[in-house]
């Protein structure tokens, strides 16, 4: 009886511990709130906003921000064609999230899988995979972008393909390096000695160690993917209007930085906030899973403790 209740408490304890850790950090809460908000906006926003976002009103060109008399949609000002910056951000949220999630997702999964395989088996498998990674890494991504967007179409899918392929080597090398290191730890040796299959060792023993690193990297990559898409737009080979992503808004707006700062600055802030949030969540996840860290994560701000002296 005692045992049963105690076990019960234990389980709820473990769950609530994460939540406690979550709520213990206001930054994490803010980051998660922002991400959830952005994802909700990405899912529902475009449908709600409809055509209003891309509706040009030349006479509203560069309407200044923080003025309500023109309607709430103009609270962040209007761009060079008089489109409300706020609604453009809403439309951009969907594209940017799609690009970020799909390309980071695909490249991190493919890259780290290959990296674990490469690091675990070593030998010729390792050699071939590393050579391919080297080749992809050496080819300028802009050439790849140009080829794909020249032969195919400048669509979101193709952009995801370009950005995904070019980022695979980063994950591959990271995962490989860590796998090679983890492989030599005793628990892997023990598992091997106990006759566990390669697949089992890779998924049960190595992956759990590699994943946090990859995830930290992936969360940081969210930012760089959004920015890479923006750079392609800046160099003139990105997405096409009326599809907008945040990077395109920054790229388009930067020509007017001196005259209408808000057109480039608000999308820039949104990109920075989103990337920041992704990384903060990644830090939190890392802390939750690493017992050595979570106690510190939970610790109250340091105070002078006279009583212990």
């Amino acid at each position: 009886m005692t045992l049963a209740t105690e076990k019960q408490t234990n389980r709820t304890f473990v769950y609530s511990e994460r939540w406690q850790m979550f709520f213990a950090s206001p930054m994490t809460v803010a980051a998660a709130t922002w991400l959830v908000f952005v994802i909700l906006v990405a899912i529902f926003g475009p449908a709600l906003v409809g055509d209003l976002a891309n509706k040009q009103a030349l006479l509203m060109r560069f309407a200044p921000p923080f003025q309500l008399e023109k309607g709430f949609q103009f609270i962040l000002g209007a761009d060079s064609l008089g489109r409300p910056v706020l609604l453009q951000l809403v439309m951009g949220a969907q594209t940017s999230m799609l690009i970020a999630i799909l390309s980071v997702g695909s490249s991190s999964v493919i890259g780290s899988t290959l990296g674990i395989i490469s690091g675990y088996f070593g030998g010729w498998v390792d050699n071939i995979l590393l050579r391919i990674a080297d080749i992809v890494h050496t080819i300028p991504s802009i050439l790849l972008a140009l080829v794909v967007l020249f032969i195919l179409d400048p669509s979101i899918t193709n952009l995801v393909i370009v950005l995904g392929i070019t980022r695979i080597p980063v994950y591959l090398r990271t995962a490989r390096a860590q796998t090679a290191e983890v492989r030599q730890r005793t628990f892997v040796e023990v598992a091997q000695a106990m006759g566990a299959s390669d697949w089992r060792i890779m998924t049960k023993e190595i992956a759990p160690v590699v994943i946090p690193t990859v995830r930290t990297l992936a969360m940081l990559e969210v930012a760089s993917v959004i920015l890479a898409a923006a750079s392609l737009t800046f160099l003139g080979i990105g997405l096409q209007r009326p599809t907008v992503d945040w990077g395109m808004l920054v790229a388009d707006g930067q020509a007017y930085l001196e005259t209408a700062w808000f057109v480039a600055v608000f999308p820039g802030i949104v990109i920075v906030l989103t990337a920041l949030s992704a990384s903060l969540i990644s830090n939190w996840l890392r802390a939750v899973e690493d017992p050595a860290q979570n106690i510190l994560f939970l610790s109250k701000p340091k105070k002078k403790r006279s009583e212990s002296k």
Binding site: R131, P140, T216, S231, Q254, N283
Partner: protein, 305 residues
């Protein structure tokens, strides 16, 4: 060591050939320089003359074989747009690229190691939070945006630094800052993570129990261990800077092979593109070799396996 080097050289050669093959065919998928060359439409005779001059009248596989044959003898052909051998064009940009990438990497690694170590030492406390937020922001600022804003502020408003060009040491400041910004952000996070891992490890705790001071703990018992993931990520970033840094080149009009490559892609100047890629490939392969050697020096487990 000899076997190691031989293996490396072999795999480097394989990579290089792979890259050249890929680039050769990828580039030709983007159309022909003829479309660009005659601004307002040329006659058949003109186009044929042009094709002949650059060997574009041959079937693709023949073009490739000719290219391979010549390249093996060190002849990468003449640039279509620039009136000089393609390799000369590529070589002339390389020193600046190496210098810029090198300086930027030193700046980023040093900054990141300092900031990341402080953050790890004060993990989850205020200095850590501040450094983490700042480094994440640094990694999230669009590069071209930062470049333009920094020109507006430092060159045009304050007139402390030149807007562009590469004439004095002052003109290096903004490009280096722009290139280093995002690596600093990423690397600081990596350093922080690696340092936390090491600082919470058994051997550092043991060393502490032996009564060693904190400087010794950090510099002898932690840094070298933490260096491994840092070197891996820094190496990848450095490699991307070798053929990247395009935007910095474009905005600051700073010389560099990245800009040459983009220009060659846009102008379909295949010989220059191929020669540049070979150089960049060589640089990246050398870089990877260096990283492997550093790895071997730092980590005995790699050395002995």
């Amino acid at each position: 060591m000899v076997t190691f080097l031989r293996g490396r050289l072999l795999s480097g050669a394989v990579t290089l050939i792979g890259v050249v093959v890929m680039v050769f065919f990828l580039a030709r998928l983007t159309g022909s320089p003829i479309d660009l060359f005659f601004p307002e439409g040329g006659t058949e005779a003109q186009i044929r003359a042009f094709e002949q001059a650059y060997g574009l009248d041959q079937p693709l596989y023949k073009q490739f074989l000719i290219f391979l044959g010549n390249a093996a003898q060190g002849d990468f052909g003449d640039s279509i747009w620039q009136q000089r051998p393609a390799m000369e064009a590529a070589l002339s940009e390389m020193p600046m690229t190496l210098a810029l990438a090198g300086i930027a990497m030193v700046v980023s690694v040093v900054t990141a190691v300092i900031l990341g170590s402080i953050a790890a030492a004060y993990r989850f406390r205020r200095p850590d939070r501040i450094i983490t937020i700042l480094s994440l922001i640094a990694g999230s600022v669009p590069v071209f945006w930062f470049a333009i804003v920094s020109i507006l502020i430092f060159a045009i408003q304050l007139q402390w630094l030149p807007t562009s060009g590469s004439y004095s040491w002052k003109s290096w400041i903004l490009p280096v800052a722009t290139i280093s910004l995002s690596p600093i952000g990423v690397l600081t996070q990596v350093v922080r993570g690696a340092m936390i891992d090491v600082l919470t490890s058994g051997y550092v705790r043991n060393a502490r129990a032996r009564g060693f001071g904190s400087l010794r703990l950090i510099f002898r018992h932690s840094l070298r261990n933490a260096a491994l993931p840092i070197i891996a990520v820094a190496g990848d970033i450095a490699a991307s800077k070798l053929n990247g840094a395009v935007i910095v080149s474009v905005v600051f009009a700073f010389p560099g092979i990245g800009r040459l490559i983009v220009g060659a892609i846009m102008a379909r100047d295949f010989p220059v593109l191929q020669a540049s890629i070979v150089l960049v490939g060589l640089a990246i392969i050398t870089l990877n070799l260096l990283i492997d050697i550093i790895y071997m020096i730092v980590d005995p487990r790699v050395r002995l396996s």
